[in-house]
């Protein structure tokens, strides 16, 4: 049965502000799931807290709307217990890079086969516009009483050093590009990070849709806006690590690209390395039958209710008589 994007919709009202980038991200996600040929029960969407946290309720797939910053630990537990599931984590920039920054970094160490989409809008929307960890130093978005006194985290650079093996950026209003990026992330063997740039029409009056589109800097000759976003894939940039010997070079190139912001902002895949063993592969190295018999699938009791565990070896080790 081939499913359509509409098969991944629920009847839950999406209560984001008009013009919110979340609509684009939601649509791209639903389209990606349909195009990937997945069925709803095979997918788990895990989210954190904030406007982005509501995404799972609008996707017809298993949804786990968790705690602020804890998206990745939940996703990790789900994937480890049942590696058959397609696990997609979504969360805000405050969720992933502020309160959940420790999980962001440490999840990178495991290279678990999940996809993590961070909705990056520079503000905490649901608490009414405070600065998020991705808002640049000195900016004063609408609700801030004073200009932002802290420097921003660079999510792409952080993902690279943390060990994410697929690092990409896309844009909520370029639904097609975002959809393709999500598909690539899900298909990637390993941990994928997608920095989804997302205007917040209510609280971020600086990094707006018009700002990304370059409406503020029209070409004096043509009168046309000069967009800030450009696509890496259109520049001949090759993010793929084809041989582990070139990993350092590729990572450095990605790191270099990660520094671009302001006048020209790259979107697309910065880095992709499928040569690194995934967590699944690492476990299989120790437990050969893990893929076919993961924790969620093991039979733990027999027909009479007795435990299937045979404790003889444990007891033998502890025996004194």
């Amino acid at each position: 049965m081939v499913l359509k994007m509409s098969d991944f919709k629920t009847d839950v009202f999406a209560d984001w502000c008009p013009g919110c980038g979340n609509f684009g991200i939601l649509t791209a996600l639903q389209m990606a799931l349909a195009e990937l040929g997945l069925e709803p029960h095979q997918i788990v969407i895990v989210s954190g807290i904030g406007c982005s946290g509501k995404v799972p309720h609008n996707v017809k797939a298993y949804g786990v709307h968790t705690l602020h910053g804890r998206t990745l630990p939940f996703a990790t537990g789900i994937k480890i217990a049942n590696p058959e599931l397609v696990v997609i984590a979504v969360g805000g920039d405050g969720d992933g890079l502020g309160i959940g920054a420790g999980h962001f970094v440490n999840t990178g160490r495991r290279n678990l086969d999940i996809t993590y989409i961070v909705h990056n809008n520079g503000v905490y929307g649901l608490t009414k516009g405070q600065a998020s960890p991705t808002l640049k130093l000195g900016l004063k978005t609408k609700a801030l009483p004073k200009p932002n006194i802290s420097e921003a985290i660079n999510p792409i650079a952080l993902a690279l050093v943390a060990g994410y093996t697929f690092v990409a950026r896309s844009y909520a209003y370029d639904v097609k590009h975002l959809k393709e990026t999500i598909k690539q992330g899900v298909q990637h063997s390993g941990l994928a990070f997608i920095d989804a740039l997302q205007p917040c029409p209510t609280y971020n009056d600086i990094n707006t849709k018009d700002w990304y589109a370059g409406e503020d800097r029209k070409d004096p000759a043509t009168g046309k806006p000069r967009p800030r976003l450009y696509k890496l894939e259109e520049t001949g940039y090759d993010p793929v690590v084809h041989d582990s010997a070139e990993d350092f070079e590729k990572k450095m190139a990605a790191m270099h690209k990660a520094q671009e912001w302001g006048e020209r902002i790259p979107i697309g895949v910065f880095y992709k390395n499928e040569l690194e063993p995934t967590f699944l592969q690492r476990i299989i190295g120790r437990i050969p039958f893990y893929r076919s018999d993961p924790p969620a699938k093991q039979k733990i009791s027999d027909e009479n209710g007795f435990s299937t565990a045979d404790l003889k070896e444990f007891f033998d080790e502890l025996r004194t008589s």
Binding site: H41, R70, T76, G77, D293, P295, Q298, S307, L311
Partner: protein, 639 residues
């Protein structure tokens, strides 16, 4: 046979732990029962640690104050424990250290030196170790001065080893050899224990056996029959195990079907997870299984990853101690709200803050019962000994899945790091019950609602990934399907649905699983306690009963929801209610008063970071029974 209380002490890292293991096993091989407690500083190398073992021809479940034979690796051990040695007991000490000036021992803390000064003034002691030993001799203690270095050098020579540093670690085996030889115990059993403990290191086995024989021979020749105590093997027809609380929980979890364990390193919980990881591939009746142990970045990740795993249908647990549980509290609230069957094994230690990280306390009861914002159901189950740790670790998963709630299995450092002899546990006493679970076939054609309102408050559960069962979880209040809902009427029903499960626990789980009663059920004297004081209380009750006193002991195991009707019944027929706990406030007494309105008449409390001994519980209870006790007695034994 008279019980033998053996203590080995020395600097951390010198092999006190292996010494105790060898000693305990060797006794076990001789058909003897052992209870042993490990005490250590929060330190890697150098600070004082010791193991206190009690050996008997009958089952023993706690330490007593006495030390019959003290095996001192170093001078500090003598200084710290000399006052615990009984008058016809013995001290094994390094001959070369007897001239040590006690105040020059660098690892003695100031508070201890102050106490020591007072003790020395009282006894009129000089400041060298030999002054202490002379005083011991005067009170009838046998002092066995052994040239550790000479014996080690001889051992090295026999082994053809040049470097003394290679054999220096065998001071522990040396003192075991001397001890067992003094006790005239079968050397073959000790060698068997060494072989078992170092089974994966044949070279170490050989070295240790040479050292052991050296020690046995030296002792036989030098001290002959000087020591009056004897340890003799007895026959046993049954299979027995000797295990710690950490191990019992780990093996219990395997029995209970746990297949995902998350943890962040913390004392005294981490040993359990490491043990599980070392045994990750399991034998099952049908082949093989495996438990996945994940060391997460913190305890916040640990609880939430365990919850995530539980949602997929795997039995999942995390294991921690007080500071770690503090970090887990938000996750606990989520698990309560989302009806997640997750098990948290909680090893209490000395608190608050970092507290006494390697020591003992029972002061987290109020915390675990109340932890988490909002009202949600949970079960708190407290084991009282190592055997209960085993079965409770398994049964916790049944409770969690049957009632779809977080279960906190409350144990403590005293059980985690104590080891005890038991007949091999009967695994057929335990059955797995997973509650109401729907699979894809049962779901066909129906619109599944994860939080379906039911009479019992328990909704049939579907694992993530099941075809036809798509549903949602959210930390927000939600409707039956699992979508966010802030509607007041739905909210009421949902709150009531969740809380209703506590009534079901109250109604359905038999009282035998919630409370243990011991002693005379018609007694007017009722002891109330929970957790690891159980062993010492039982022994004290036995002795007092033999002396003609009448006592009943109520060990509360399910602390939340509290089986208050049963507790109240027991309290009502008692004249004297005696609350025994290892905390300052008498927390269980407080909770019982809150739930039943009945207060304890006497409190026997201890909070110095050390478990209660049979001796001091006996003394405290006897004072009460004779009408000679204050309402509140604070116990202080321990070093």
């Amino acid at each position: 046979m008279k019980d033998i209380n053996w203590m080995a002490g020395g600097p951390q890292g010198a092999g006190v732990d292996s010494a105790a293991n060898i000693f305990g096993r060797a006794c076990g091989y001789g058909g003897l029962y052992v209870f042993g407690k490990r005490e250590y500083h929060s330190n890697i190398k150098g600070l004082h640690s010791y193991f206190h073992l009690r050996v008997s021809d009958h089952a023993v479940s706690a330490n007593v104050n006495d030390v019959d034979l003290l095996a001192a690796f170093d001078a500090e051990t003598v200084v710290r424990h000399i006052s615990e040695v009984v008058s016809d007991g013995g001290i094994v000490v390094d001959k070369e250290q007897v001239d040590t000036k006690v105040f020059n021992i660098p690892t003695l803390p100031t508070e201890f030196k102050n106490e020591l000064s007072k003790y020395m003034d009282q006894k009129g002691l000089g400041d060298t170790l030999s002054d202490f030993l002379d005083s011991a001799r005067r009170s009838g203690i046998h002092v066995f001065q052994v040239p550790y270095m000479d014996l080690l050098k001889q051992t090295a020579a026999k082994l053809g080893i040049d470097k003394i540093s290679t054999v220096i670690r065998m001071i522990n085996v040396l003192t075991i050899g001397v001890s067992f030889s003094l006790l005239d115990y079968d050397q073959n059993l000790v060698e068997k224990a060494i072989r078992a403990i170092f089974s994966d290191k044949p070279k170490i086995v050989d070295m240790n056996i040479v050292a052991l024989r050296q020690a046995y021979n030296y002792t036989k020749q030098t001290f002959k029959d000087e020591f009056p105590h004897r340890l003799a093997k007895i026959g046993t027809g049954e299979q027995r195990i000797f295990l710690s609380g950490n191990q019992a929980v780990a093996v219990g979890k395997i029995l209970g079907g746990c297949r995902v364990q998350t943890y962040y390193p913390i004392t005294p919980a981490a040993n359990e997870s490491e043990y599980l990881e070392a045994h990750e591939i399991l034998k099952t009746k049908t082949g093989e299984g495996a438990i996945i142990v994940v060391q997460t970045e913190d305890e916040i990740a640990a609880i939430n990853a365990a919850s995530g795993a539980a949602l997929t249908g795997a039995r999942a647990a995390t294991s921690t101690s007080g500071p770690g549980f503090s970090l887990m509290v938000e996750g606990l609230s989520w698990a309560g709200n989302d009806e997640v069957p997750v098990v948290i094994t909680y090893y209490q230690r000395g608190a608050p803050a970092t507290g006494l990280p390697t020591r003992f306390g029972q002061a987290d009861l109020s915390f675990v019962i109340h932890a988490g914002h909002g009202e949600f159901p949970r079960i708190v189950l407290a084991s009282g000994d190592i055997k209960e740790c085993f079965y409770d670790a398994a049964v916790a998963f049944n409770y969690a899945e049957r009632y779809q709630l977080p279960v906190i299995h409350l144990i403590d450092k005293a059980m985690a790091n104590s080891s005890q002899t038991y007949p091999v546990f009967d695994v057929d006493q335990f059955k797995i019950a997973r509650g109401n679970i729907l699979g894809e076939n049962e779901l066909q054609g129906q619109a599944y609602k994860r939080f379906n309102f039911t009479e019992t408050g328990i909704s049939p559960r579907v694992f993530l990934g099941t075809r036809n069962g798509v549903h949602w979880y959210t930390g927000d209040e939600h409707n039956e399907v699992g979508h966010i809902s802030e509607e007041p009427a739905n909210r009421n029903i949902m709150v009531e649905k969740r809380m209703k499960k506590l009534e079901m626990v109250d109604k359905e789980i038999p009282v035998e699983e919630k409370i243990n009663f011991f002693g005379d059920k018609n007694s007017e004297n009722l002891i109330v306690s929970w957790g690891s004081p159980k062993g010492a209380i039982l022994e004290a009750v036995n002795v007092l009963t033999a002396e003609g006193f009448s006592l009943r002991f109520m060990q509360v195991r399910m602390l939340h929801p509290l089986p208050k009707a049963h507790i109240a019944n027991a309290l009502r027929i008692a004249e004297r209610i005696i609350d025994v706990e290892n905390n300052y406030l008498g927390q269980l007494g407080g909770i019982i008063k809150e739930e039943t309105g009945i207060s304890a008449n006497f409190h026997v409390l201890k909070y110095n970071g050390r478990p209660v001994t049979t001796t001091e519980v006996y003394d405290a209870l006897r004072n009460i029974l004779r009408g000679q006790a204050l309402r509140r007695q604070v116990l202080t034994y321990g070093s």
